[in-house]
């Protein structure tokens, strides 16, 4: 059951009444419009749309994020510098917009790559079973015995700071979730009759697994991927905040928060709180989308 999703209004009582079959209602039943049924989904998609627009077009309209202006350091938010300027006089808004391109891309790439790898392993594990399944399950047990953030942290620390390394490390932390999810789905799916049909039609086992069972088992993974994209943005920024992975002077939200954090206790709140707010809003958009599509949002 979805954690916060809708459940049937009669609490499933109907299914339990033996011998009773609900009559088919002729014609299409009336439904509320989508924005009334799933307001959070729409809000999430709108916010995400703004971010994507910002990431694609934004950098053409703002200044170079690297340009310093020592005469104008620590200027508060104004019509010239919407988010103010930092200790080097760099425009915080320009940097935040450039960072949007990097952060949103990284979040989506991590979600997609861990979904693709995780579900490929999951379908093999679930469909074929045997020792491969056993080994895979024990491996995911061990990987999931680490809090994901700690795993990503130590991975990046070991393989070195760079954008691709961060993508790899954070993806590795999320792959086990997709393995588990796909495997559970495949275990139920492979018992269905169409699978027997596909086998009888002479398809090879691999083809049945990947072309027939896998596409029918992907639904929950897509929903989960929306959440993972949000969490990945939080994780990458969290790592950058600790000085791991993406480093200054790159314009990245977590790096900007880290650089601006010491300014908080001297009163220049804008250097850290604006980019931090953009991280939270982006994560929230993905969370809204995943939550309203009924993901397991723990």
């Amino acid at each position: 059951m979805s954690v916060l999703g809708p459940t049937s209004p009669d609490g499933g009582a109907q299914e339990r009444v033996e011998g009773f079959i609900a009559p088919e209602i002729p014609g299409k039943a009336y439904q509320l419009p989508l924005w009334r049924r799933k307001p959070l989904l729409i809000i999430g998609l709108v916010i995400l749309g703004i971010y994507v627009l910002l990431a694609v077009a934004g950098p053409f309209f703002v200044d170079d994020p690297r340009v310093t202006d020592p005469a104008n350091f620590y200027q508060g938010p104004s019509s010239d510098n919407w988010f103010g300027t930092d200790k080097f006089g760099r425009d915080v808004f320009a940097r935040a917009v450039h960072a949007a391109r990097l952060d949103v891309t990284i979040g989506i790439v991590i979600a997609l790559s861990s979904m693709v790898i995780g579900s490929a392993i999951g379908v093999v594990s679930g469909y074929f079973g045997g020792w491969v399944d056993e080994v895979m399950m024990r491996l995911t047990d061990v990987v999931m015995a680490f809090p994901g953030f700690v795993l990503a942290l130590v991975l990046v620390a070991a393989i070195g700071n760079s954008v691709p390394n961060v993508v790899i490390a954070v993806s590795v932390a999320y792959i086990p979730y997709f393995i588990r999810l796909t495997r559970a789905q495949v275990l139920a799916e492979r018992e269905l009759e169409y699978v027997d049909g596909a086998k009888l039609a002479g398809n090879s086992p691999l083809r049945v697994a990947f072309r027939h069972v896998l596409p029918n088992s992907m639904g929950p993974s897509f929903v989960q991927a929306a959440l993972v994209a949000g969490w990945a943005i939080l994780t990458v920024a969290g790592l950058a905040f600790l000085g791991v992975g993406i480093r200054p002077p790159t314009a990245e939200w977590g790096v900007m928060v880290a650089e601006g954090a010491p300014d908080i206790i001297t009163g220049q709140w804008w250097t850290a709180l604006f980019p931090g707010g953009m991280i939270v809003l982006a994560a929230m958009a993905f969370q809204f989308i995943g939550d309203d599509m009924g993901a397991e949002t723990l």
Binding site: V154, M284, T297
Partner: protein, 341 residues
Amino acid sequence: MWRYLGRRLLISMATVIGIVIIVFFIVRVLPGDAAIVRAGPYANEQKVAEIRQQYGLSDPIPVQFRDYISEVFTGNLGVSIRTNGDVTDELLQRLPASLELAFYAVVLAAIIGIPMGIIAAARRDSWVDRMARVFAVLGSSMALFWLGLLLIYFLFFKLRWFPGPIDRLAIGTEPPDSITGFFTIDAALHGDFGLMVEAFRYLALPVITLGFVLAAPILKMVRASMIDALESEHVRTARAIGVPYWQILFRDGFRNALLPVTTAIGIVFGYMLGGNVIVEFLFAWPGVGRYAYTAIQVNDLEALQGFVIVVGILYVGLNVVIDLVYAWIDPRIRLGKKVAA
């Protein structure tokens, strides 16, 4: 019962061994020269060679593995490059600070999350329920460092309600003699209530930061499992024969929701063991998370590796404790029957 526990313990040991092996692979075997990482960016070749020698990094991998395993399983996590101190000692010394922070954060999260979840489930689709849902989504998408900075700015810099992010106590304040390692409890045990209040004041901001984020998953889990319980047939029967609603809510609803709630608190604890690196760094909290942060800054792989192993073992140990609690709450496990939940 005992068979069940024995099986769980065996699995946990296997997981710990797995963690130790994986950490070895991450730190030693992955591409990236461990000696160069340890030596730092400004080392010359001679220094790198020295370090390679000192840590036995030029030995064949199986030999390194054997040495590493025998060290780790005798409780020796190596020597920190930065402090020249024993990593095991340094971690154990810092652990109480982290545990105190974690303990109060989970307590706060439970105080917020459990009642909100119960009310949200009891009054489904009311405005309380909607507020709870928004709160849950906010909590799951909150960046710890951002919330922490927000609290520091408003509650410390602007309003001066709480002390700034410097340490567990004000500079110059002597910590209480250690009994439990929790400053608040130790101070109370010594009868020094002024010191206890000071310790709580320094705990406040990091605890609120973590507690807010951790309340979200607890709230969701309580709400979902309460709804499941309230929709069950025994609740319908109880209502039909006229049992008071509040009694149904707690006796039939909450008691049945306890199992998933225990799971949620366990997951939350695990999450915090990772999140505390950020919060401890932000609030200059002298725990294991901050130790890991400092280790990363100077490529102190020995210390970092020790931190990861300790966190992994704590997490696995926690899961064993949760299984014990499960068995205590749920007679079906105690009596060795299959659990549907």
